[in-house]
C-alpha cells in the first residue's frame, strides 16, 4: 500500500488554564490513505473535534507527531510549511449559521483564502475561481453578490464547502458537517462531498456522532471515548463485528428506523469499570486484519473468539 496522506502518531493534546490542565486526547494514532474517508466517532467531550483541530493546527499537539504527505506538520514549523498546510488541509465546521461572516458577500467569503495567499493573477482569475467553486457545489454565479442570511442552511453549508474548494485542498477535515441540517438537506450535502471526493481524489477526516451517517459515508471508522481510541476497523467490519464494549453500546444506542426491531432492542450501557486493568494495562492490538482494539491480553483472547 502507498504511504498514507496523513499520519497521526501518539497524539496528545493538553489544555492548560493557569495551574489546571486537562488532557483531552491521549496516545491517539491512525493513518489516513489518499482518497479515503476516515471517520472519527464519539460522543461530546470525547476529544474527536480536538483531534481534527490538531490536524489543522488550531490546537497544538502537546506530544506526538502529525505527518502530512510525509512532512511533519505538528509542533514548531516554518512559515512556509504553515502556508502549505493551510492550502492543503481545509476544514468544514458544524454550524453553517455560525461559521460564515454575516457582513461579507459570498464572493468575499469564498475568495478570502485566495486573497490571503495571493492565489490569483488578476481580478478576472479571482472571479473565475469563485464562480468555479460555486458551480462545483451547485450554486449560481448570481449568488456571489448575496449575503449569508439570504441562504437556507443547506445552501450555507455549500458556501462553506465552496470556500474550502477554492483553496484546492487535498485533505478536508469535516467536523459534523451535516448535524445542523434537516434530513432531506443532509442527503444533498453528503452526496456533494462524495462526488467531490471521486472527482478530485480528496481525502476526508469525517468527525461525527451519528453512526448511521458514518456507516454510509466512511471507508474506515475509529471510535473514540474519553480521549482514547477504543477501536478501529473498516466500516462494514466494525458494524458486523464490534469488539470493544463501548463500540457495542454505541451501536446498540443508535435508533434504527424499523419499529419492530427498535422496540425489541436491548440497550447496552458501557461501564468502564468492567475492564480489569490493574494487573495488565491495555494496548492497541490488531485482533483481525485491519481491525484494532484497545485491550489487554486476556480481553484480546476473548475478542478473538467473540464471533466464531
Amino acid at each position: 500500500m502507498s504511504a498514507p496522506i496523513l499520519s497521526v502518531k501518539d497524539l496528545e493534546v493538553t489544555f492548560k488554564n493557569g495551574k489546571e490542565s486537562f488532557t483531552a486526547v491521549r496516545g491517539v494514532s491512525f493513518d489516513i490513505n489518499e482518497g479515503e474517508s476516515f471517520a472519527l466517532v464519539g460522543e461530546s467531550g470525547s476529544g474527536k473535534t480536538t483531534i481534527g483541530r490538531a490536524v489543522v493546527r488550531i490546537n497544538p499537539a502537546t506530544k506526538g507527531d502529525i505527518h502530512f504527505q510525509g512532512k511533519k506538520i505538528s509542533g514548531e514549523i516554518s512559515h512556509e510549511l504553515d502556508t502549505w498546510v493551510i492550502r492543503n488541509i481545509q476544514m468544514i465546521f458544524q454550524d453553517p449559521m455560525a461559521s460564515l461572516n454575516e457582513r461579507a458577500t459570498v464572493d468575499y467569503i469564498v475568495s478570502e483564502g485566495l486573497y490571503n495567499f495571493n492565489l490569483f493573477k488578476d481580478e478576472n482569475e479571482r472571479r473565475e475561481k469563485v464562480f468555479k467553486a460555486l458551480s462545483d457545489v451547485g450554486l449560481l454565479e448570481e449568488h456571489a453578490e448575496r449575503y449569508p442570511h439570504e441562504f437556507s442552511g443547506g445552501q450555507r453549508q455549500r458556501i462553506c464547502i465552496a470556500r474550502v474548494l477554492a483553496m484546492q485542498p487535498k485533505f478536508i477535515v469535516a467536523d459534523e458537517p451535516i448535524s445542523a441540517l434537516d434530513v432531506s438537506i443532509r442527503a444533498q450535502v453528503l452526496n456533494l462531498m462524495r462526488d467531490l471526493q471521486k472527482e478530485r481524489g480528496l481525502s476526508y477526516l469525517f468527525i461525527a456522532h451519528d453512526l448511521t451517517v458514518v456507516r454510509y459515508f466512511a471507508d474506515r471508522i475509529a471510535v473514540i471515548h474519553q480521549g482514547e481510541l477504543k477501536e478501529l476497523a473498516e466500516t462494514d467490519e466494525l458494524f458486523e463485528r464490534p469488539l470493544h464494549p463501548y463500540t457495542r453500546s454505541l451501536l446498540s444506542a443508535v435508533p434504527i428506523p424499523d419499529p419492530d426491531l427498535e422496540k425489541a432492542k436491548i440497550l447496552m450501557i458501557y461501564d468502564p469499570s468492567l475492564h480489569d486493568y490493574d494487573k495488565e494495562k491495555p494496548q492497541w492490538r490488531e485482533i483481525f486484519p485491519g481491525h484494532f482494539v484497545q485491550a489487554n491480553s486476556r480481553e484480546a483472547a476473548e475478542y478473538a473468539n467473540m464471533y466464531p
Binding site: S184, A187, N191, L250, P255, I256, P259, E262
Partner: protein
C-alpha cells in the same frame, strides 16, 4: 382519527397564522387530530413544517405575533382556545399539559439550585408546604434516575451533565402529574447513548404515571423507538397518519416515501443518497393544490390544481395524496419503501412463526 376510545385531546380544523413584517404567513393550514389516552403519538416533520407551532397551541404558548383564526382544541370538556386569561392557562400549562424542550441548558435557570427549580413548580400548582414539596421533589429526582438525590438537591445546573439536566427537566414537567407530556425534540441535543437512556426513562415513567405522550421529532429512528402512532407533517399540514407499523412498513404518501428514502440507513453504499429536490413552499402565499407537488416526482396534473382529501387506507391509516384516488395510476414506490415493506412482511412472518 379512530373512534374506538374517547380522545383525551381533540383538535379540529386548526389554523395558525403569524404576522411577520406586516405580512402574514399560515403556519398551520387546517389540522385535525385526536389523541388517544395513554398512547405515544409522534409528529415528524422538517424544520418549518409547523410541528412545534401545533403543540404550542395546546399550552397557550404561541408567540405574541401569532393568532388562531379558526379551529377548536377540546380537552377535559373545554375548548382551550376560549381561554383568555393567563390564570386560566396556568391551570392547564405545566399542570395538565407539560412540555419537555430540546435543550436542557436553556430550560433550566442557571442561577437557581436544582432542587428549588422542582419545588417551585410543586408549590405553585399544588399549594403544598415547602417540606412536603421537598419530599416530592426528592422522590421525583430518584424516579428520573438521579443517584444520591439528597446530595445533589442543592447543586446548580452547571454541576449536572447534559443527560442529567434533561432528567431534571423531565422531573419538573412531571411534578404536577400532567395528563399529557409534550416532548419537543427531547434528545436532539444529547449524545446517542444518553438519548437512548432518556427515551427508555420517558417510556418507564409513562407506564408508572399513565400520561399520554406527544413526541415532536425529525428523527425517524426515535419515532420507531417510541411511537404507537405517527403523523407526518409537511408545510403546516398532516399529510399522513397511522400506527407506527403502518407508517414505516406501508407508507402511502410520497413525502413519507421521500423521507424514508433520504435515510442513510436504508441506502446502498455505492449509490448516492436520495435527496428531495427543491425547498418547501413559502407559507406567505396561499398554496394551490398539494403543497408537496413541485418536489414530488409522482405528482399528477391534479396535484397542482386541487388539494387532495384524506384517503383511508385502513381504519387507522390515512394519507392525503391523490395517488390513493381510484382514478390514479399505480405508483411504483422508491426502493427504500420496498425494503421497508419487505421488512414488515418478514417481521409478520417471524411473529406468525413464533406464535405457532
Amino acid at each position: 382519527m379512530s373512534d374506538i376510545k374517547e380522545p383525551i385531546l381533540s383538535v379540529k380544523d386548526l389554523v395558525v397564522k403569524f404576522r411577520v413584517r406586516s405580512k402574514e404567513l399560515t403556519a398551520i393550514r387546517s389540522i385535525s387530530l385526536d389523541l388517544i389516552e395513554g398512547e405515544t403519538f409522534a409528529i415528524v416533520g422538517e424544520s418549518g413544517s409547523g410541528k412545534s407551532v401545533l403543540t404550542k397551541t395546546f399550552t397557550g404558548m404561541l408567540e405574541s405575533n401569532g393568532r388562531i383564526p379558526q379551529g377548536t382544541i377540546r380537552f377535559e370538556g373545554k375548548n382551550l382556545l376560549e381561554l383568555k386569561a393567563d390564570k386560566d392557562w396556568e391551570a392547564i400549562r405545566g399542570a395538565k399539559i407539560s412540555t419537555v424542550f430540546q435543550d436542557p441548558m436553556t430550560s433550566l435557570n442557571p442561577l437557581k439550585r436544582i432542587g428549588y427549580q422542582i419545588t417551585e413548580v410543586i408549590e405553585k400548582h399544588q399549594k403544598l408546604s415547602s417540606t412536603e414539596a421537598r419530599r416530592i421533589a426528592l422522590e421525583l429526582m430518584a424516579k428520573v434516575g438521579i443517584k444520591e438525590a439528597e446530595k445533589r438537591f442543592d447543586d446548580y445546573p452547571f454541576q449536572y451533565s447534559g443527560g442529567m439536566r434533561q432528567r431534571i427537566v423531565i422531573a419538573i414537567a412531571l411534578a404536577c402529574k400532567p395528563r399529557i407530556l409534550i416532548c419537543d425534540e427531547p434528545t436532539t441535543a444529547l449524545d446517542v447513548t444518553i438519548q437512548a437512556q432518556i427515551l427508555d426513562l420517558i417510556r418507564a415513567l409513562q407506564r408508572d404515571y399513565g400520561f399520554t405522550t406527544i413526541y415532536i421529532t425529525h428523527d425517524l429512528g426515535v419515532v420507531a423507538n417510541v411511537a404507537d402512532r405517527v403523523a407526518v407533517m409537511y408545510s403546516g399540514q398532516i399529510v399522513e397518519y397511522g400506527t407506527v407499523r403502518e407508517i414505516f412498513y406501508d407508507p402511502r404518501h410520497p413525502y413519507t416515501w421521500a423521507l424514508l428514502s433520504s435515510l442513510p440507513t436504508l441506502a446502498r453504499k455505492d449509490e448516492p443518497l436520495y435527496a428531495i429536490p427543491g425547498t418547501p413552499p413559502t407559507l406567505f402565499v396561499d398554496i394551490k393544490g398539494d403543497a408537496f407537488a413541485p418536489r414530488n416526482r409522482y405528482a399528477m396534473g391534479i396535484d397542482f390544481e386541487e388539494e387532495p382529501p384524506f384517503f383511508q387506507v385502513t381504519p387507522t391509516h390515512f394519507a392525503k395524496t391523490w395517488l390513493l384516488d381510484e382514478r390514479a395510476p399505480e405508483a411504483d414506490p422508491p426502493p427504500a419503501v420496498k425494503v421497508m415493506r419487505a421488512k414488515g412482511k418478514q417481521h409478520d412472518e417471524e411473529k406468525a412463526g413464533a406464535s405457532k
